[in-house]
Each structure stands twice: as C-alpha cells, then as structure tokens.
C-alpha cells in the first residue's frame, strides 16, 4: 500500500506552498508522485530520489579530484578550519530550516565568524531600504482577500514563483475579491516584456537602470507635481495615468524582485518603491512585499535578527554583532580579501556569486554542506552531503511574507546521511572543545 501525505510544504521558493500532496511507497523510502507542485517543486521532490546522489563527505585531493571520507573526518576538518580561522565566513542558510540555522549561529558565535545568507545576492538591498524607510506590508492572504491593484515591479513570478499568481496574487477568489482576477487590475513594470507582463492590464517597459527615476516620477505624479515629458522611457501622461490607477483602488500591493534589487540604484529603488507605497496610504490602502527567492531566506533573516539583531551580513568576529553591508557582506569580504576560510551551507555561491568572489572561495580552506553537487561543492576543499530539508527532514521555515510554516518530512534520507542539524550539532560540540567553551 502506498500512502499519501497531505499538507506538505514545498521547499523551493519563498512562496512556500503548503498544499502539496506526496504519494510515497509503503516502506516510506520512495517518493512516487507529487501533486499540486509547480514544475520546479515537482523536480525538487523527485531529485531527492536520484540514484547518483552523493551520500558520503568528499575531500578534495591535490589533483583536484574528490575522495570519500567519513562524517567524523568531515566534522573534524570543519571544526578545525572554523576554530583556527581569524575571520571565517559562514554563508548560505537559506535552504535549510531554522533549527539548523540556530545551531550554525552558535558555532559562528563560538568561533567569531561572519554569518551571511543569500539575501546578500537577492533582497539584501531591500533590507537596507527597509532600514531606511520601513515597510508597510501584509500577509499574502490579505492580497487574496482584499487586493484590487497588483503591481509587479522587476519581478517575473511566471518564472520565479510559479504558483504565486494562482495562490495569492491574481487569480484566487478571496473574501472581498469574489470575482478573482476580474476583481483586480494588474500593472507590470519591467525592461523585458516578460511572461508576467503579458498578463498585465498595464505594462511599463522601463528603461533598464532607471527604476529609481520612474518610481520617483510616480511619487511626483501622485502629488500632482510637474514632470518632464519622458521619464525612464515612459511618457509623462502614462505616469499620471498609472498614479491615478493606483490611487483609485481600495487595496493595492507592489511586489518587487531582483529586477530592482540588483539593478543600479539597488536599495534606493526599493526605498523609492516603499516611499511610493507609504504615499499611497494617504489616499487608499497599499502594501509592498519583496518576492523572496529561497524558501527559507526569510527565516534566516528572522533567526539572525532575534539572536543578533541584524537580518544578514552579521560580523561576530569581535565578540559582539556588527552589521554594515559593504563591509560585513560576503561579496565585499571575499573580493576585498577580508576572510580566511569559507563555510557554505544550503546555498550555491559558486553558481551565484560573480566569478571574482568565487575565485577567493576556491583559494581558501572551504567546506560546502549541500545535498547536491554544485559549482560550490566542486571548488570547495570538503563537500558534506546532507538530507533534503522539507523532504527528508522537517523544520521551520518562513514564507516571503514572514509567515512561519513548519516543513514536513516525507521520506527517510539515504542510509547514514546526516541532516544539516545533526552535522552542525557535531561541529558545534567539537568547536566548543577546541575553543575551551563550557558546554
């Protein structure tokens, strides 16, 4: 008899869908079918079953090839590397659970490391903007139940958050939005006529790198002030029209993505978008929300914040927490040559950092903890494969709107494979011994 597990949480993106159903074999070891997930989520569950998946730690040899080692050896190497470093970087955390993050932070505190998560290359600039001007936001259910104005700015949920539009933002029928997508006006701003923009009622093809100008122009238009004839490639008439459209809604939301966080202007783009949202609250109700990428990057920020006071790029090297992106942020630390060893977990900087930063990782003592083989594992000195969180082990995660959802275990991990928590727990014990900290 197979069994079907319901209310399963998809551990891929920040949409954190929690209505997945998974059919597993009667011995609880095999995933047979996955229902309700998008193409990416579906692939994620099935990949956990891959036969060629590494199940033992692998150490890089002098010739660049990898040799299997025991978890004991992996724990020892990792603990020694971290304990002996003067400024280790512990990066990632976004594809694991809050339990593992917590243990990792205790290690970081004991060794005086810098802890950073993937917001560094995703919504870090959003956090900077939030620190400057705040963020009027809401949970996704508010959008489903109330929103009649939806803006996607520099994000492409059709590709990056495939079920977002059907679960929360465009199509669902909510309490005050009984007509579903007909209750809503969709506005999209993007330099590319993306698959999301093709659904839009109104589309603005903003000149690449001029989001700040266009956002500020919308704010200017809201106040009825003068505008130049064209801003960021958009005629001023269309900007005044857009401002009116936003104002005339009962409840609006701006979703934004890496199209603004990674483009020239960065935090300032978000700052202007948040300020626009704040301005709109003088006329109607408006919220704004970042489209967070990794399924638990938000959780990493939350745990870091309650434990150390800052959501990412937290430098613990001096025995107290410091924070200043540009100084304490991974890319800057690597490119500037400020760190002397690199521990990565639940992320892939090898694939997602500019190559100059990756070169630095490859040149330093380095450990990569990841269920997959990735560019990071293949340039690190040690690769520690672990169980998939949300598939082979449960644990808490935070959705893009900060709602905490406890992910579920669906199947057992392969024989002998540790979870992130188990591996980190062992490293913590060893690090405390090496540092002479009382347990």
């Amino acid at each position: 008899m197979t069994k079907t597990i319901t209310d399963v949480i998809c551990p891929f993106c920040g949409t954190l869908c929690d209505d997945i159903e998974v059919t597993v074999s009667d011995d609880g070891k095999k995933i047979l079918e996955v229902f309700n997930a998008c193409a990416i989520g579906n692939e994620k569950f099935h990949h956990a079953m891959a036969k060629d998946r590494p199940v033992r730690p692998r150490m890089q040899q002098a010739d660049g090839t990898y040799k299997e080692v025991s978890y004991d050896e992996a724990v020892e190497y990792t603990a020694q590397m971290l304990a002996n470093a003067k400024k280790p970087l512990m990066y990632g955390w976004s594809s694991t659970n809050c339990e593992a993050q917590s243990i990792g932070h205790e290690i970081a505190e004991a060794v005086g490391a810098v802890v950073d998560n993937t917001a560094a290359v995703c919504h870090g600039t959003t956090l900077i903007a939030v620190q400057d001007v705040g963020i009027p936001s809401c949970t996704l259910g508010e959008i489903k139940n109330r929103a009649d104005r939806i803006l996607f700015w520099g994000c492409n949920p059709a590709h990056a958050h495939p079920r977002h539009m059907s679960r929360y933002s465009i199509f669902p029928r909510g309490f005050f939005t009984g007509k579903g997508s007909q209750s809503r006006k969709l506005i999209v701003v993007d330099p590319r006529h993306s698959d999301t923009s093709k659904l839009a009622d109104v589309y603005y093809q903003v000149e690449q790198g001029r989001d700040y100008e266009l956002l500020q122009a919308f704010r200017t238009a809201l106040k009825g002030e003068w505008l130049p004839d064209v801003v960021a490639g958009i005629p001023k008439e269309r900007i005044y029209e857009g401002a009116e459209l936003m104002k005339s809604g009962r409840f609006g939301i701006i979703f934004f993505g890496m199209g603004v966080t990674q483009t020239l202007g960065k935090n300032h783009n978000i700052d202007a978008a948040i300020s626009l949202t704040k301005d709109l609250n003088e006329y109607t109700k408006f919220s704004i929300m970042p489209m967070r990428g990794h399924y638990n990057v938000t959780g990493s920020g939350e745990v870091l914040a309650w434990q150390f006071g800052f959501p990412y790029s937290v430098d613990l090297s001096r025995g107290y927490a410091r924070y200043n992106p540009g100084d304490t942020s991974s890319i800057d630390l690597l490119i500037r040559g400020e760190v002397d060893s690199v521990f990565t977990i639940a992320s892939d900087p090898g694939a997602h950092f500019p190559i100059s930063a990756v070169k630095r990782i490859a040149s330093l003592p380095s450990v990569a903890v990841d269920p997959h083989i990735t560019p990071t594992t293949e340039v690190s000195k040690l690769h520690v494969p672990v169980a998939f969180v949300g598939i082979e082990v449960g644990g808490n995660a935070y959705r893009m709107d900060n709602v905490p959802i406890d992910t579920r275990k669906v199947v057992d991990p392969p024989e002998g494979v540790l979870t992130d928590e188990q591996f980190l727990e062992r490293v913590l014990i060893r690090v405390k011994e090496l540092k002479g900290v009382k347990a």
Partner: protein, 266 residues
C-alpha cells in the same frame, strides 16, 4: 602639541581594526602604554606595538595630541573613529571608516580612503588628497541622522552615496562623484567641482548641492527656478537653481514649502 609617530613593523595577514588609533585614546599615555593598546585582526586581539613602532610622545589631552601614521595604511580600518580633538596625519592610503563618527579634530590622509569615511560625522575636519569611496559622510544604516556637522574635503573623486541622510556640515569634492548624492538629506552643503552621474538629490528634503560640471540624468522631481550669481568655495559663477525633490514631503516655513536646492553651474 605633541606628536606620536606610528611606523609599521609588519603587515597583518587580514585587515587590522585600529579604532584605538585616536588622539583621545593616546592622550596622556606613554609610548609603552600606547603600544599596549589593543588592535584587532578578525577575532584575534593584538597589542598595537606588534604592528607598529611607537615613537614620540602624546599630549596630556586629545587636543594636544597629533598622530602620524607612516607607510601604507591601506589595510587599516577605523582610523580616527569617534575622535573628538587633536590631529591624525596618514601618510599613505587608508581603508574604510576613516573618521567614522568623529566629533572634532582633524584628519589628513595623503592617499585614498575607502568606503564609509566620515560616516555619522558630527564635527571636525577630514581632508583627503586622493579619492574617497562610497558612503562618504553618510549615515550609518538605518539612522535618519547622518552627517551633522564638520567638513570633509576630497581632492580627488568620490564614490556613490555621498552625504546620504546628511543633516549638516559641508562636503567638497574637487573631482567627479558616482551615483546618489545627498539622498534623503535634510540639511548641509555638498559641493561637486567635477561631474556627477545620475540620481543627484533624490528624496532630498532640505540642504544644498552645487555641481560645477554636468549631471548625466536629472531626477524628475527637480524643477528649474532661476539663474543666480553665486560665490562658492572662492569661485564665482552663474548657477541654474533647481528645487526639489518634489516627490518627497517638505516642511513649511512661514507658509512657504521649503525645498532642497540644486545649483548647476552654467
């Protein structure tokens, strides 16, 4: 005024955090006591004397103390942090946070400085012969109270986010600046003698920016008002006055809205 000279003995493998190199920390101390002050490499603490030979003598107070750092300081962070009086002369280039949160005294760097120089500055003077990095005279993250007073003078170029959340004081850059000048400023004066790129004066509430060269793209919230004759930093000329940022809220004084002023040299 007495002078303490720091001559480098060895380079640290990583960056060295020298927030204790200030006249305030040196004042009243012997060279031995100064050499015993802690500096930091990552999570390790070392006596200053491990990296520098300390010669000369400190004054009785910060105001009577001058510090000269010889050689290459390009891996020293936090030189002159929180200093309130006295002088620091850096003969080479310095890394980040030079004069961070300084309240008084004078720092002169003969080379370049990296990001966050003069961050949270309240008073005093910071003079750099070379270039400055990003966030010059800016606020610390999240703080709406940026540079409050004092003067920063850069003879070369400066990076992005100069005068971020500035409230007072003056920043002069002889060369060019990168994007975002005076963002969110509510006071103070910024003078750019070279060219600026785009995003100048964004979300600025009050304060003044002078640009002698060009601005690539003006922000939509700046309105041309008039042409004016002005004398700025000893130079006379005709300036086009723009007021803004109209996207932002502005306080009223005597019934009149108060805007930030952007002067563009004609």
């Amino acid at each position: 005024m007495n002078t303490v000279t720091l001559t480098p003995k060895k380079q640290s493998d990583l960056y060295l955090e020298v927030n204790n190199i200030t006249p305030d920390m040196f004042a009243g101390k012997s060279t031995e006591q100064i050499a015993a002050l802690p500096v930091y490499v990552g999570n390790t603490e070392h006596p200053l004397g491990e990296f520098f030979t300390v010669t000369g003598a400190a004054g009785a107070s910060a105001a009577e103390t001058r510090i000269v750092i010889k050689g290459d300081s390009s891996r020293l962070k936090y030189i002159g942090m929180k200093m309130t009086a006295g002088e620091i002369e850096v003969e080479g280039s310095a890394d980040q946070y030079v004069g961070g949160w300084m309240a008084g005294g004078k720092i002169h760097v003969q080379g370049n400085v990296q990001a966050f120089a003069g961050v949270g500055m309240r008073g005093g003077e910071l003079l750099v012969d070379g270039n400055a990095g990003d966030y010059l005279g800016a606020a610390y993250r999240g703080d709406w109270r940026g540079m409050q007073g004092g003067k920063i003078y850069i003879k070369g170029n400066a990076g992005s986010d100069l005068g971020y959340f500035m409230n007072g004081g003056t920043i002069v850059v002889d060369g060019d600046v990168d994007v975002f000048v005076g963002t969110h400023a509510e006071g103070g004066t910024i003078i750019i003698k070279g060219n600026a790129k785009s995003k100048v004066g964004g979300q600025m509430v009050q304060g003044e920016i002078y640009v002698f060269g060009t601005i690539d793209v003006m922000l939509p919230g700046y309105i041309y008002r008039q042409e004016l004759e002005k004398e700025v930093e000893g130079m006379k000329g005709k300036f086009a006055l723009f007021e803004g940022d109209t996207a932002e809220r502005h306080p009223k004084r005597k019934g009149q809205l108060q805007y930030a002023k952007l002067y563009l040299k004609q």
